[in-house]
């Protein structure tokens, strides 16, 4: 192989070459659109069915998995943009209660069809926070998706301020995170250990989004615990 050929193969910018991450990014974008249309068609179709045919276990499964798929695609696109330093950050002041309501509303059907009670609690009435709704929303959304899988009957969102950081906690009444995951969470967060696939990647993504929120020298972070208020696992995101 000549030097010229070598260069062409390794240089993603070379004409005719493929920059695989750009391919992924644009494909993911189309996949998201496609999934959206698929779900709309499905919804129309299922709403036209008689209740005995539409209220089935398969319905919950389709809705839940498509939600998960969507969350994964958002996360993948987010990770790609983080990698090329093109993730737009647009923080703003917002009311924390609105934010939590919004997150639960997005999972409304799935929570109801699985008979899981979703609730939220804000420590201080009218609490305001400065964050990027879009980014933090995608992290919280993925955590809720994950919790739905393990929760028995309840998921709770809670927000409070500790050491002038906003803490948003998502907890459930499932069996909690595996002890090894709690122990090794710093490795997931650093992106060292990806052995659990999407969950590990989700933690890494959550940490990166949290870190984008910083004030003075303090950076945001995430934390996993098993002593949640509902008895199961608890995911916390700290935003200074």
């Amino acid at each position: 192989m000549s030097d010229e050929q070598q260069k062409q193969q390794s240089d993603p910018e070379a004409p005719g070459g493929l920059d695989f991450s750009t391919v992924i990014a644009s494909t993911v974008h189309d996949m998201k659109n496609s999934l959206g249309l698929l779900m709309q068609a499905y919804e129309r179709w299922s709403s036209a069915l008689p209740p005995e045919l539409s209220e089935t276990a398969e319905r919950g499964m389709i809705e839940y998995e498509s939600m998960r798929l969507n969350g994964m695609l958002v996360q993948m696109l987010g990770l790609y943009k983080l990698g090329v330093n093109q993730l737009p950050m647009r923080p703003n002041w917002l009311e924390v209660e609105d934010f939590l309501q919004e997150q639960l509303a997005r999972h409304d059907e799935i929570l109801r069809s699985r008979h899981i009670e979703g609730s939220y609690e804000v420590e201080e009435d009218g609490l305001m926070a400065f964050l990027d709704t879009e980014l933090v929303g995608s992290v919280v959304g993925n955590v809720i998706n994950n919790s739905i899988r393990y929760a028995r009957s309840a998921i709770q969102l809670k927000a409070w301020v500790a050491d002038s950081q906003l803490v948003i906690a998502i907890s459930d009444d499932g069996q909690g995170y595996p002890p090894s995951m709690i122990e090794n969470q710093s490795e997931y967060v650093l992106g060292i250990n990806m052995s659990t696939g999407s969950t590990g990647l989700g933690l890494y993504f959550g940490q990166r989004i949290a870190e984008l929120h910083h004030r003075d020298e303090v950076k945001g972070h995430i934390e996993l615990r098993n002593d949640g208020p509902l008895g199961g696992g608890e995911f916390r995101i700290y935003l200074p």
């Binding site: 709309q40 129309r44 737009p88 647009r90 923080p91 609105d98 919004e102 509303a105 305001m128 879009e134």
Partner: protein, 534 residues
């Protein structure tokens, strides 16, 4: 529970599936009136006939205008009230946010796919917010900025949840009122607490506007390191360098902003202008082509983009004739220009001259002369004159085409109208050494300066007398007419007089062609408003 039954909705999306599904969700919320459109152009047309309370607009409509462009056009045409809720629906909000302009943001972004609960939750909040902000929005509808300020304080005091929106409206009102010190204090306070993107951009632009270029540069630079995906910051940095005369650097920053957000007409327009001034004709041509394209069917289309494209193609060839391909594009571009702005003789004149210059270089002097003659006839009939900048360009073109007499006559008018501005006189002096033009205004300018002194000492009758003399010498001068009008108004306010009112109106009518970009324009507007209120 919010009653949606009387609210009018418009749903805009290119997929009929989506329109049907959203309409279905709205029906479940008891909404009765839902209109739907597939294209942004249709949405704009529908907004002409109906005042919608809520517009749910898809961002990416495939071909045609995107949601941001539609929103900007609705604002520009006054087809959307501040009370209207505009929600941008997108598969990926971050992309749409990058495109949004500070002055024209949707009320919310809603990420697709969304369910009914999300839609309702979001709309409930937005309706509640618009209701709480009603006193502010009412004052905005009346364009009463003083009332906006008062309403902001009132709403914030009543409910601090809405403070973020109130503070933003407050900053807008302070800016509109020209209350520089208060605006700066407010923005500084906001960003000292948190790096609020809109406040950073607004403060940078404020410093830029008052000439604090170093402060503006350091703010824009530090903000970019924090928010590398905000194109407005690159625009700001480009403007700082342009103001310093570093146009190559300015061009570089504009190009960076365009890499993030290429579909901005204004940004492409700026790049074309700068690149042409820098002699970077390849980039200028590309930028103007994009601007012409983006301006098609848009209210923001600007004849300067067509003229810039044709001129750049012409100038790229230097003293040689443009290539046949370039010539063809010049002809086509100017043809489009002539059609689109057929009722604007000033645009036609400028088109004629660019065309003449290209044709002259091919050796067809007769055709060039014919175009210049056409332009001259039109120029004699102009109801009002060019801006100073364009007059200088027209004069230079005339000169270059070998019509020195016509060039001088344009410069003479330019000197009369704008000659009290030393920078413009300097530019005129670079084109002619004719003492009749360069010195014609000296006497009037002296009278005007003395008038200003008298006015400052509150000797209004003396001031008026001096301004009148200046105006008699140079009736087309904008400053002299405005100064006369203002002095007359002073006397009028003390004692009504039909004659004085007539004189004031005449002065203002004389300069009614003052471009909206002129620094004296706000003053002109204020005078018109005051005299109309008498």
């Amino acid at each position: 529970m919010i009653d949606y039954s009387k609210k009018r909705f418009l749903v805009v999306d290119d997929f009929s599936e989506f329109r049907t599904s959203v309409t279905g969700m709205l029906r479940l919320m008891a909404v009765k009136q839902v209109d739907a459109a597939a294209r942004g152009e249709d949405a704009i047309a529908m907004c002409r006939n109906t005042r919608y309370d809520v517009i749910l607009h898809d961002y990416n409509l495939g071909a045609g205008k995107n949601g941001q462009q539609v929103l900007e056009e609705l604002h520009h045409a006054g087809l959307i009230s501040p009370h209207c809720i505009f929600v941008m629906c997108t598969a990926e909000s971050s992309q749409a946010m990058v495109m949004s302009a500070l002055e024209c943001e949707p009320d919310a972004y809603l990420t697709k796919p969304f369910n009914r609960a999300s839609l309702q939750q979001r709309l409930d909040k937005l309706v509640e917010r618009k209701l709480a902000l009603k006193p502010i929005l009412d004052a905005q509808v009346k364009n009463d900025q003083q009332a906006v300020l008062a309403a902001c304080d009132q709403v914030m005091a009543a409910n601090k949840r809405f403070a973020p929106q109130c503070l933003r409206h407050k900053a807008g009102a302070l800016k509109a009122l020209g209350k520089h010190a208060e605006l700066e204090a407010l923005l500084n306070e906001l960003i000292a607490d948190r790096p609020l993107p809109w406040a950073l951009i607004m403060l940078g632009n404020h410093w830029l506007a008052i000439g604090e270029l170093d402060k503006a540069e350091s703010l824009f630079t530090s903000s970019i390191s924090q928010f590398p995906m905000l194109p407005a910051l690159f625009d700001g940095l480009a403007a700082v360098h342009a103001a310093r005369g570093a146009s190559a650097k300015a061009q570089e920053y504009l190009e960076q902003g365009l890499r993030i957000s290429p579909n901005s007409l204004q940004r492409q327009h700026e790049l074309g202008r700068l690149a042409r001034a820098n002699g970077d004709y390849d980039k200028a041509i590309r930028a103007f082509r994009q601007a012409v394209d983006l301006g098609r069917n848009s209210q923001f289309r600007n004849p300067d983009d067509h003229l810039g494209l044709a001129s750049s193609l012409n100038e790229q060839a230097g003293d040689e004739a443009p290539s046949p391909k370039a010539l063809l594009e010049i002809r086509q571009t100017l043809g489009d220009l002539g059609k689109a702005w057929k009722d604007d003789p000033k645009v036609t004149i400028r088109g004629n001259l660019v065309h003449a210059s290209a044709v002259a270089k091919t050796g067809d002097q007769a055709a060039a002369d014919k175009l210049v003659a056409e332009a001259s006839v039109r120029m004699a009939d102009l109801p009002n004159f060019f801006t100073a900048q364009i007059a200088l360009e027209v004069a230079a073109q005339m000169q270059h085409l070998g019509h020195a007499d016509k060039a001088e006559s344009v410069l003479a008018t330019c000197a009369e109208m704008y000659g009290d501005d030393a920078r413009i006189m300097e530019a005129i002096a670079s084109q002619t050494s004719n003492p009749e033009i360069l010195n014609a205004g000296l006497q009037a300018q002296t009278l005007n300066r003395e008038g200003i002194k008298a006015y400052q000492q509150q000797q209004f009758p003396q001031a008026l007398d001096l301004f009148r003399q200046a105006r008699d010498l140079q009736p087309r001068n904008i400053s002299f007419a405005l100064n006369t009008a203002q002095s007359v108004l002073r006397l009028l306010l003390a004692e009504p007089s039909a004659d004085l009112k007539d004189e004031c109106l005449q002065c203002l009518a004389q300069v009614s062609n003052i471009p909206a970009t002129d620094s004296r324009y706000p003053r002109y507007e204020k005078l018109c408003k005051t005299v109309a209120g008498l």
